[in-house]
């Protein structure tokens, strides 16, 4: 039993996978000698060597394209994009090739690639370091998308992603890199394809993921003081989505709120709201309400707390569905 941070959970998962499968290689900027700007790949190069933990030139499209080439050859590359906002140059390789190669080649050349991206805000950073990208990737057929919210999930989900035969976009909530949890390593491989019920409740279902899970947990705790029992669900895999757990909960409570940091228009939350209503309109007592960022570029650090959905904005949404 050890107390580890989410960052350490990721580090341990990489180590665990690289020990068991010599096809797993890590590439990215500063991942080798420096161990990654967030230390996620700390000490891996020492253990596995420069051929398996590669410090690449500064070129995101290059990292992604070379990763694809390695995967065509037969390796399992774990490519790192240093920050969410720097993923954009790699977009062409991700959408034109990573997502489509299996389909284009009728399964003859599948790509078992993981793209690790620290995402989300709340760290007082300068521009381009606080983006939410999940909508782009969940919207691209051929990609899978997953995001952990706890250290144990960080370990288990990264292992799951690396072992997946398909390309996986692994979104790491950088704001939560340093949260701690007591964990037995290696984390047992439970069924992480299912969403995690963080807290059971009967009055309203709150769906969330990644960095927002903590916020929602706090909001649920507050609501409980007023006698409102929120059921909190951490989605984990956004694609493939565990729609069963979501709908079981919504049928129970009759009310749903979706919380994420992403700008609300065109967000993945919108997709969830539509899907829930389509799936079982009659179970709903109120429309599905989305809590998200405003439709503005992510703001400067000094005022980012006004942008990020906080406890009160979540509770406002809970009130709204309860009093509809």
């Amino acid at each position: 039993m050890a107390t580890i941070t989410l960052a350490q959970g990721l580090n341990e998962a990489l180590r665990y996978c690289m020990q068991r499968d010599d096809r797993v290689v890590v590439l990215g900027e500063d991942v080798g000698k420096a161990g990654g700007v967030f230390r996620i790949t700390d000490k891996l190069q020492q253990e596995f060597g420069e051929q398996r933990v590669i410090d690449t030139p500064l070129a995101e499209s290059g990292i992604m394209g070379a990763g694809i080439g390695l995967a065509i050859y037969g390796f399992k590359p774990v490519c790192e994009m240093q920050f969410d906002g720097f993923t954009y140059p790699a977009f062409e390789q991700i959408t034109s090739h990573l997502a489509k190669y299996r389909s284009r080649t009728m399964g003859k050349l599948p790509l078992s690639v993981v793209v690790r991206i620290p995402y989300g805000g709340g760290i007082g950073a300068v521009e381009h370091h606080s983006e939410s990208l999940e909508a782009y990737f969940t919207h691209t057929p051929g990609l899978k998308v997953v995001t952990p919210s706890t250290p144990s999930d960080a370990f288990a989900l990264l292992v799951e992603a690396i072992e997946d035969p398909d390309p996986v976009i692994f979104l790491e909530p950088k704001r939560r890199y340093w949260i701690r949890e007591d964990v037995e390593l290696p984390v047992a491989n439970g069924d992480r394809r299912k969403a995690r019920i963080v807290r059971e409740g009967t009055d309203v279902t709150i769906l969330t993921y990644g960095p927002s899970v903590r916020t929602v947990e706090d909001a649920a705790e507050e609501a409980a003081k007023d006698g409102v029992a929120c059921e909190v669900i951490d989605l984990r895999w956004l694609n493939p989505l565990d729609i069963d757990t979501i709908m079981t909960s919504v049928r129970k409570t009759g009310r749903a709120v979706v919380v994420s940091e992403a700008p609300v228009t065109g967000s993945f939350s919108g997709e969830l709201a539509a899907r829930i209503a389509e799936d079982d309109f009659l179970s709903l007592n109120a429309p599905v309400i989305r809590v998200g960022g405003y439709d503005i570029p992510y703001p400067p650090a000094k005022v980012e707390d006004l942008y990020l959905p906080d406890l009160d904005r979540v509770l406002d949404a809970v009130d709204a569905v309860l009093n509809y």
């Binding site: 290689v25 051929q51 398996r52 590669i54 690449t56 030139p57 070129a59 499209s61 290059g62 992604m64 394209g65 070379a66 990763g67 694809i68 080439g69 390695l70 995967a71 065509i72 050859y73 037969g74 390796f75 590359p77 140059p89 062409e92 390789q93 034109s96 090739h97 489509k100 190669y101 299996r102 389909s103 284009r104 080649t105 009728m106 399964g107 003859k108 050349l109 599948p110 057929p141 051929g142 899978k144 997946d164 035969p165 398909d166 694609n239 493939p240 989505l241 729609i243 069963d244 899907r275």
Partner: protein
Amino acid sequence: MRGYVDPDDVSTETVQILKPDGTLVPDHGFDIDLKEEDLREIYRVMILTRRVDQESTNLQRQGELGVYTPALGQEGAQIGAAYALEPQDWVFPSYRELGFAMLRGVQPSHILHLFRGTWHGGLFDYREHRIAPYAVPIATQTLHAVGFATGAKIDGANTVVITCFGDGATSEGDFHEACNFAGVWKSPVVFFCQNNQYAISVPLSKQTAAPTIAVKALGYGFPGVRVDGNDVLASYVVTREAVRRARRGGGATLIEAVTYRRGPHSTADDPTRYRSNEELKQWEALDPIARFEKYLEAEGVLTPEFKEQADAEGKEAAAKLRREIVGAGPLDPNLLFEHVYAERSPILEAQFEDFKRDQEDR
């Protein structure tokens, strides 16, 4: 001035062994290690490629293909280079490399099915032929090639990768990134640029200010070489050297094969809008097959029987292509839902059910 590197100082020499008149350049100094059967094989594939290429254009004009990207005039560059590869070496093409595909025995219709709209990757077996699927987004394949080559290197495999692209591709960021990675990693890769003078309508002079494309290699720390792309022998020799270099751990080479795209960029393009008939005629006189034929006939390597046989083979291949393409139906639409993932997610599965139900009503 001191300390400056000047573009006017670089060599712009173009390697040539076989002149347009079909005679060898005297004292060319290269070791042409091709036996007579090699030369005949190269000739056979050049004829085959030209016939299949021509038939493909015809098929498009007859409504059998949505579009086609002719390789007319580039047979020398492609087949010469392809001949320098070992069977285990891989090719990462763009979308015009019919010559490479023919040399490696790919069934022509399998490539054309891409243009027919049957399946995006065409229908050939990439692993069997060691040719990656055609890449449409420009220069993106160069990075895949570098990754693949690096993988082979990590594995200690004896595999070299050649990646093909045009003069236009050298402007793309991915080309630069690929060369840079290859330089730093010393990847066993050959960057084979067919400088066919145009990127659709944009001439080379608008594509780069560099004196040659080959010289760009210097920026990445490996050598470049400029070769007469219509000289199949030179193309072969130069590529052979680059492949050997890569195989012994010497890293990458950038080859600029100077040639000419005698056809349009694609069947949707009209070259008369941006180039003259005179220019076309000038390059027709430099035809790679004509000069090679003259040379082989003079050397007694190409007999009338073999020539007739190669011709007949080409015609038969074209006819077979026509039989396989004309009236060919689409694949089972249900395949659209296969191979998106290793396994369909529940949501995708539900959509697939909807799709199948929808098909029943059609």
